[in-house]
Symmetry: C2
């Protein structure tokens, strides 16, 4: 067999100077890679008779995408997964499931019922996450609407409103009202420079009147948007008093959470997989015919001449596999601890980015008490360590429900809960939630906690890229090292999202496809 | 049988001076009537052995609530409904259904499929509509989340942005950004009087920074909230350019529609009945054992001594019924045309309030093309007569879908469509929608239109109360005239909502209950 056309030769051929980034640019031009707003799948050219074996490390979303796409193009794939389960952080916890936390294995004691599950990892499908939506559609995974913002839910902050919970509906309505009133006053004083001074003043005042629901004097004195205090159905509705704007400013809610559902990835419409987000994993595993070996821990990755060798342990024995390429989604901070022959700068990049410590608690509630409070899905926010309480978007008016009792973004809150035993975590979450729902404890039947920073084979959640880290390391990690590609949300601009994982997988597949095609054309050259 | 204790006697007994309003106030004190925020059902005291017959005119939501509650308390009820169908404006149109418009009967040619229906009347269940939610829960009517706001949907205004559609996501993000920038500038100039001058200036600037997603100089220069122009997954995301704020001001969207989902009744969470809103009607009719006579047109209402006589036509013959009470939901502007012996001031009040002319068109689309545009539910808005395009919240990723092709609030738009034939209406709606979805026409398989102003037995939609009309006539109509009660959303502060209809029904039931109980106690007085 002739020596295949080298990667460098190929890049020279197409006139590109700088490695795979240039290939990626040319792929965009060909419409192979998703640009924002439109789905653009990598279409792998079929191999026909020339065999190519790809070793895929990790059966999370990125690894599954690669296996699915590669085997459909005629590649031989082997997927190695360290955990006993497939899916990585896409994990739905149900009756009898084990939560494989380091030192604290938990068993889930929820009732066995289709509604009673807990999405410990991804839980939301933004409509513009085109690859994720594409696979859900292709696999006919039933989706339903996910409620991300519930104006009837609560904001509770120990530094504002005497620590008492306030309806998000009131908080947002009143904040908008006061902003509009303040700006109306400023507009009336003609205090603006360009580019605003040339705006039609009367129209701007009308705009603010509508924006804040101001009164006829352009003052904010409460709004029906906050909900009536009394009446409104068979009697005249009377407005609630307004919140004190200085109390609003004392709370932390406006720094981030008040604008939660304004974000691109958090704004409606959002969806979830009916019955649990791991139906997305199942969509892949139902179709993938390549072996996915679970409880297979990688013990070595060696870049060889035109091959990658992977040593792994399975059922107490070491095995060796060689592949033409390796697509590797092992969390990069763990990968540095596995024997390898990567160059030093690659190892440095792999070890440079810290991981999030996202933490979730879920409780089975014997009664959907929040529905009596007009809450159907969405989030209550607090400045306590639990940070969030989620109400389920599905199973409306059924008897029981699974609530998220904590979802922490702040690393220090994650670490705080990690230090506790599972039982202590639940107790703390209950104590904190009682500031929002005083009768909370009485509804609880069972609970589980998932600290991603302590989950075996992961030991961390999303990669915490900073601008500085990205400038130094991102391209290095996104480019293949020889025939080894790092994949996963960890090497995307959307860490912690399935779309990031899928996009990274397609980025690597596009590059791999071009290299393999170049090799095959190289074979044909005498 | 002894003469029952008169209503006047009863009111004198409890010391009330002014009719049923006082009774209503005492009912609130007893917790019988829903106050804002909490469900408080009228609990009718059971009649035991003393028969009372109640004639209920109209089998819309208010009539059905009355029949359901009264028969459970031992009342004999007869419901007369003029139309061939039960439900009034709660109407779901499916394959084969007739739309009973004056002079333009239409047949619905949608495919026969559970997802392919059109809620021609109420379509949204706000979580705080406690009576409606109560009945849905009691009857175990499956509910699902309804998407009312979709940031991926479009705003299109012929007076702004050159008439081109703009994503709601961009419009709202940019509007917030510019507001925050303007106010930041004003704050930096210290231009405020009390009560704002004492606010912590630095905190207010931080608040505005977060509110508008301003840059480090507190200027708005675009935000990821508007969605990236390119990148964001495997490459750095670049921001979109901002919309011109003066173009934003030129549009009509901010006058009302931009704040649509800020309103109490339109903010998340909202729900819909799985399979069609008329499952709520079915919930009642499955349980009501009293006769509901359809195609029974009332030809006379006569107040008699302690009775109400109703003449109706059914199958070509006139019939007469007497009842101890009459609960009447016939649209009040039609009621004035039915022979009666009401006092003149009551007749004047009945005829005083005009009706809305809400108009809807629905199309069956052979492909859910909007999902390719990342739209899942929600509303696109236009300043053209169709006003709104709705995308279904259910049936995600199935093949076909029913879209609302028009939903007009403006009376002149309703009248415009009413003047056209059904075929012309569809054609006009298509032509207008093409300004938002250029390929719209090609997806259409069939369509129907429902002009509530021309629907037989209704000839109008919601009662259009003004403050002036309410001051003059509302109490007069809410109070019973002898043993005749006007009911329905038409005599509530929530015209056009099922909750208004149900609240009005419960208001009348509470009053009727007190009168009957007084009568029964009067019977026992020698």
């Amino acid at each position: 067999m002739k020596q295949p056309f080298s990667r460098r030769d190929f890049l020279n051929l197409i006139g590109a100077a700088g490695g795979s980034a240039a290939v990626y640019q040319s792929s965009i031009a060909l419409g192979l890679i998703p640009a924002a707003g439109a789905l653009s799948l990598t279409r792998l050219e079929p191999l026909h008779k020339t065999p190519r074996r790809v070793l895929i490390l990790g059966a999370g979303i990125s690894g599954l995408v690669c296996a699915y796409e590669l085997e459909r193009a005629g590649y031989e794939c082997v997927v190695l997964e360290a955990s006993h389960r497939i899916g990585g952080r896409n994990m739905t916890v149900r009756h009898g499931d084990t939560i494989d936390e380091l030192g604290h294995a938990q068993t889930c004691h929820f009732d066995r019922h289709p509604n009673l599950y807990f999405n410990a990892g991804p839980a939301r499908i933004p409509a513009h996450h085109k690859l994720l939506v594409h696979y859900c559609k292709t696999f006919q995974i039933p989706l339903e609407v996910f409620v991300n913002e519930d104006r009837n839910a609560w904001v509770q902050d120990s530094n504002a409103f005497g620590g008492k919970p306030v309806r998000i509906r009131e908080y947002i309505t009143d904040a908008r009202g006061f902003i509009a009133e303040m700006l109306s006053k400023a507009v009336n004083r003609d205090e603006f420079d360009a580019p605003f001074s040339d705006l039609d003043k009367e129209k701007l005042l009308e705009f603010l009147h509508a924006f804040g629901d101001l009164n006829e004097n352009n003052l904010y004195r409460g709004s029906i948007r906050a909900g009536y205090k009394t009446g409104g159905m068979v009697a005249h509705g009377t407005l609630k008093g307004t919140l004190d704007f200085s109390e609003i400013l004392k709370s932390d809610f406006w720094r981030f959470r008040m604008h939660w559902a304004e974000q691109e990835d958090q704004a409606a419409p959002l969806m979830q997989a009916v019955g649990g987000m791991d139906n997305i994993v199942k969509g892949f595993t139902d179709r993938i015919r390549s072996p996915i070996i679970t409880s297979a821990q990688v013990r070595g990755v060696t870049l060889q001449n035109n091959q990658v060798q992977v040593i792994y342990q399975h059922k107490g024995k070491l095995h060796s596999l060689n592949g033409d390429y390796c697509l590797n989604s092992i969390p990069k901070h763990l990968l540095t601890g596995i024997p390898n022959n990567f160059p030093n700068d690659y190892i440095e990049a792999l070890g440079a980015v810290p991981r999030g410590k996202l933490f979730k608690i879920a409780f089975q509630m014997k009664q959907r008490f929040w529905e009596d409070d007009a809450i159907y899905g969405g989030i209550s926010w607090t400045n306590q360590p639990i940070e969030q309480i989620w109400y389920p978007s599905h199973g409306i008016h059924s008897t029981k429900g699974i609530m998220l009792g904590a979802y922490t973004f702040d690393k220090k809150h994650g670490e705080y809960f990690e230090r506790l035993t599972p039982a202590q975590r639940l107790e703390e979450a209950i104590r904190q939630a009682e500031h929002i729902h005083p009768d909370y404890r009485g509804y609880i039947e069972s609970g589980v906690s998932v600290p991603w920073g302590r989950m075996n084979h992961l030991m961390g959640c999303n990669a915490l890229w900073t601008d500085e880290l990205r400038a130094r390391y991102f391209n290095r990690l996104q480019q293949p090292e020889g025939r080894h590609y790092l994949i996963g949300d960890q090497v995307s601009y959307h860490a912690g999202w399935e779309e990031g994982a899928m996009s990274s997988a397609h980025f690597a597949l596009a590059d791999l496809n071009q290299r393999v095609q170049a090799e095959l054309r190289g074979d044909a050259i005498p």
